[in-house]
Symmetry: D3
Subunit: 304 residues, 6 copies
């Protein structure tokens, strides 16, 4: 709390709802955002809730902000499969990680009929052929603050593989949601060999360039993090919108809008692909679409 | 007008849509708010309509702001009766006062099928067994600016009781909407004897603590002003929301939202009661719920 | 771009979303507004999109802003005819001008079943008995940047009348959408003789006072520019509303709201007419209604 | 007072000690400046005394501000004569006007040994061969608020010439201190014929261009108003200096500095003359020196 | 330090070099002012040293600020005696108190040849016929932080009178420098009986109205605190002047200016007395002069 | 000019007379400061001359700012010698560099009776036994913009030594005024062997630590740059003082104050030395004195 307040004592000069709007990240959740916001208000005498996002709903935060990155990744994956005439229903999924992103990705996969059989932490991975038990996972994470290695104690059918790569487990879809460069060349080869259908990056750049190349050559659909995990940032923008209008969104309203945003991103990647003769190459599509938006904005603002 | 302008010449430094937002109160209606707002704009060069609430709709005010406290009190009363399996339909009501709050409470009681037979001013009370005639009341208040003692001249069936307490009249529901401490121990005993079902405070703390105690012991439902007359302040918040979004709400939209707000407050009081083993004790429920919100906000902001 | 930036370097001190909100006009389209806005943000460090209207949607502009004046004029005309028990369906229309206002008026006339047979530029007018071909017109304006005299090259049925007045062509409705004082006494007499039903000013004061007088005496309905072409300014207000709420309106949402706004303006003119015993005299109705709003606002603000 | 306060209610946004610093002029003396300053402080909550000059010393004004223009004109005249080897001692002076500038010019002329024998108002001029009596003049101006025609009642030796030009009276130095274009071609010819030595403009451009030309050709030294009456503005700058340092200057300190400023202006005109081969032509010298300063400042600021 | 910082976190919005300039008082010395100023700079990012006075010279404080009230009281006393043809040289003085004001009053009395024989604290008074030893007093106050009762241990010639009134000691001049109402009717009678010549209030209103009345009737000169102890506030104004000009005054410069300020205050009281026919009645003179200044400022600002 | 303006467009938010005050440095002289200041005023609408120092006097700069570092270094050297009972009169000096610092150091050395026989640029050094001719040096630098190698063409007695170290030339005082680390161990040994009396750093850290160590051991007085070349920064502070008071200092006033500042710095170093038992060790004295000031300021501000 002290650190947050001291930090904001200097930062408050440089931010604002129409200037720069910080959000939390690793180690900065809604609790820390609350302390930052409290100090911001104390100093500026302004209840400018749009100055920070990721707030607790009590202080003007939007519901579904914690779920947004995980859900969004799965929405993108779903749209990508639909474009290929497939669906998640009945698909086996391997998800790496077990934190915020991974947990909500697993939850949404279940919701959509997929069977997520793997999750992991830095100690290894759990394989639960019956599908990861969400209640057990939440209990370990939030209440007990235990490591994943304790998971089999609560679920007899599951097994923990210390120090091994989750990508060994055969699956239809793979969602690397843990950390940068966690899925390398060998992992990709094994996934391809196991006939993976699609890969969706919930983390930032979890697949190495070499792994991505292998997927592309094998015709595996790859959802690049730049597009697939944009749900968190997009929902921060929704929070700014809620705050600007002094509105109070429901969970469903946010979730519905998030899904629409992810589908639009998917569509823009896809049509950009087609336009450049690389149908289905989402990596290229996301890069070009992003770059074009920046250039168009620079030109329109006269920043050239 | 001069006073409003001189007052705002100093006040303008200390208020703003994200800082402090004054509203009218006794003797300060939309006309005075308009003069204050006009001077605010003249000085700050900003059309910040969210800086004041209770404005005339022409200057950005929300419709149904004058009705809000009176309507809201009746909505709370309605919810409270519904929780006991009763309804206002056919109930006889005694309302004290005849000003803004009382008038709109009477109007809404009629709307919901109740029969308000009494209203009062500082000179005494009118008893009209056929139910107070709203048009006559508005005419006295607004057009003729006459005292209630003139009411029987227009409604032969009515009688005026100078200097007497309205709580002598038997009724199913009592709505003290006039002023602080207007309903004392003796009044409460008489109401209980006359088998009153519920009391809803439209004014701020109109029942003395002793009166409240008598009601609680007799099992009469009491809607404390803290919760029951929150409709005015709640609608000011809606006005801020309308102004933030540069929107223009309709009367119905405001009224519907107000009703929802009052029902939510009722629900929160009720569930807080249950949680503390005092089912139906709205006085305790409102106090605890209010206190908890303040504490939670202080903790979340790091103000400890 | 240089001029826009230098201009804003001084202007930025005097504008803001709650102070003064400039919009484009002749020679200042969304491109110039973008340069102005870009410089505004550079200087103030604030992304206050509500500071300027007429922006490109990429920078926060509202869709249908370019269409607004033309569409709005036709919506007003439609309401005016409906009040007389007539409809645009099948009516022949003469529209002067071929720029932004005229083009979208023609488009909306087609949409509503009318047949716009004339449009013009400073060189003369085109008469196309089959109805102006919108694609050809857009092509000339935007792609080829040619004069109207080239129109017959693309549409054999059409004929160009260099240097002549479009008001010679018989029509049911006339929409002067070009410039001030373009429709004089003689034009009015000819239109009346040709049995025109209604005149709607898409430009600012295109009919001379004498022309207006002739129309009024002949019982021709006249939609004065003050009311009929308010759609552009009204849509700028919608853009401010969109920006305040950080919302993103669709074309349809804007168009629907615009239509409602125009119908409300029509209704207010009409009822003001009735109130003053001059039914159907929109010129007087618009003047009185406008004046009354200003006076009411001055009184409410205490600016007297 | 009301007008000053209303005017400042808008003006306060655009001025400030480092932005624009208004001063009084015709009809706006220290009383009006005080009302403006009072309102400025009320609105801004800042005691920024450097925001206005010409204040009463009680509110931070500098002493000798009223005297500055008149004294300064005489200091310039003195320097000009000294450069020609002459002195004011014993010189007969004709001063037009009897207001603020003229009065203090007359006072300073007396101080330096000259004999001002004429002053005037719009009704005519007084000729007092013994030298204008300052006490009588002040008494007429300030206490009695009478016209100059009453002067001879108090000074038997004086005579009033209604409707005539003061420049008929022979003199060594002429100081037009009344108004624009008050000294024309014929006046100049007469003064030259009467052997005038020097002319100093206390008013703004009192000599017509033709008159100036006659003086230049006759070798009469002309002190152009641009340089000669700069004492008022210069003393406003001293007031800003006093206010910036929260200092309190004495009359003598201001007067000494004023004299130095006027001598420096004289020297700069003179040396500019020499540089351009027009020795003693103060009109040209003042123009060139002024222009060069502006250009140099523009270049140094990069305003080109 | 924590308290100062938390206090300034709110206060910083309401002060500034041209708005309100707080200074220390009882319990708030240059150390606390430094903490307040440090926090002010941290929050506002501005080194506005004129925002607070009483600063340590390291942070922009003026020298002689701690001495100012005590010295100033003696300067006023000296001027008062001089106006009666007397001088402090050789006069016996009784000073109550031994804090900041009393200590520097004693020091300055010594400087001017008087013999201060008494000082006091809440426990009683010291009588040292040889004159109070400044070094011993400073040593007790600052280094040892001991009570005055320890004084005789260091100065054999002195005696401590616990719980008694210092005004019993015969003296030529009495300087109550401790606290409000410390010198009552009986004290005044005894002083008059002992032939006191003058009384100078170093504290705020230390003499009761009855005591003052006795002095006035006995012809004893009384320097009221309003005038006599203005040296502290006056030196704060000098500190603001030093800060505005980013200057650095020396001790002597401050002391010289302070003496001049006190003499001017004395002169203004005296001349106001004469004007109202009450020569030498400083109490009346100070009241009238103070009131007149306020009225004149109000009129000049248009605050009426 | 373009670069300065673009740079200030962002910088203006972060600076101000009471916040941060940039000054020129290598490649940024009064011309560039003028462009920065011009843009600052254009953007902020404030003539806050204290926002930048090193301005041209036309824009509020202080005279003697270019001379300050060079003169100051010599003033420090003079004080250091005086403390040892020596004087510059008749001393031979070697100065490295020929830019702003070196030139004005040479000029001041001449003024004080020393004979600067060497100056240098990156191509080598000039040795002129008769003393460097200032006019020739200025002519080369400013008018001709030639290299030092051309010096002997104008002064027959001089010789240019390409690529050699100026420290070979025997001298009484050495002033490294060129660049960092320009005077190494070998140079120091040679200077000591040639019996140098004192070394004064006009550049920032021109002597390597090893060289400094040699000088200290040999008892040569060393004026460290931290103290000796503080004249430039000190004069910037004087410029801020001039601007704060809207004053206009003369060259002499600045120079006199600069000399006083340098002598005070010298005194503080010296007394700090004595306090720590290292008499005459200016390196240590400057370090300790500087550190103590920072610590004292931090404590006084409560920044701990």
């Amino acid at each position: 709390m002290s650190f947050c307040q001291a930090f904001m004592t200097e930062l408050h000069r440089h931010i604002g709802p129409a200037t720069d709007v910080p959000a939390g990240d690793i180690g900065v959740g809604s609790r820390e955002i609350g302390y930052l916001f409290g100090q911001y208000k104390r100093l500026t005498n302004r209840y400018d809730s749009g100055t920070l996002t990721g707030k607790d709903p009590l202080l003007g935060g939007i519901p579904a902000r914690p779920e947004a990155t995980g859900y969004g990744t799965v929405y993108f994956l779903q749209a990508m499969l639909a474009a290929r005439g497939e669906s998640l229903d009945g698909y086996t999924a391997v998800v790496s990680g077990s934190g915020n992103v991974a947990f909500h990705a697993i939850a949404e996969l279940c919701e959509l009929g997929a069977v997520p059989v793997v999750c992991s932490d830095s100690g290894g991975y759990v394989h639960d052929p019956a599908g990861i038990d969400l209640e057990v996972l939440r209990d370990l994470n939030v209440t007990r603050r235990e490591r994943l290695s304790a998971y089999p104690e609560h679920v007899p059918s599951a097994r923990f593989f210390p120090g091994e790569s989750p990508w060994d487990v055969p699956c239809d879809v793979a969602l690397p949601c843990a950390t940068q460069n966690e899925l390398g060349e060998q992992d990709a080869l094994r996934l391809v060999k196991n006939d993976v259908r699609a890969v969706a990056e919930g983390a930032n750049m979890p697949c190495t360039p070499a792994a991505v190349q292998i997927f592309r050559e094998a015709g595996v659909a790859v959802a690049p993090g730049k597009a697939a995990n944009a749900g968190g940032v997009a929902t921060s923008a929704l929070e700014m919108r809620q705050n600007a209008a002094r509105d109070r969104w429901t969970f469903d309203q946010t979730d519905r809008t998030l899904r629409k945003v992810m589908e639009d991103i998917h569509t823009e990647c896809l049509s950009t692909d087609d336009e450049h003769g690389l149908p289905g190459d989402y990596v290229v599509g996301a890069n070009i679409a992003g770059f074009r938006t920046v250039v168009a904005a620079m030109e329109a603002n006269g920043y050239i």
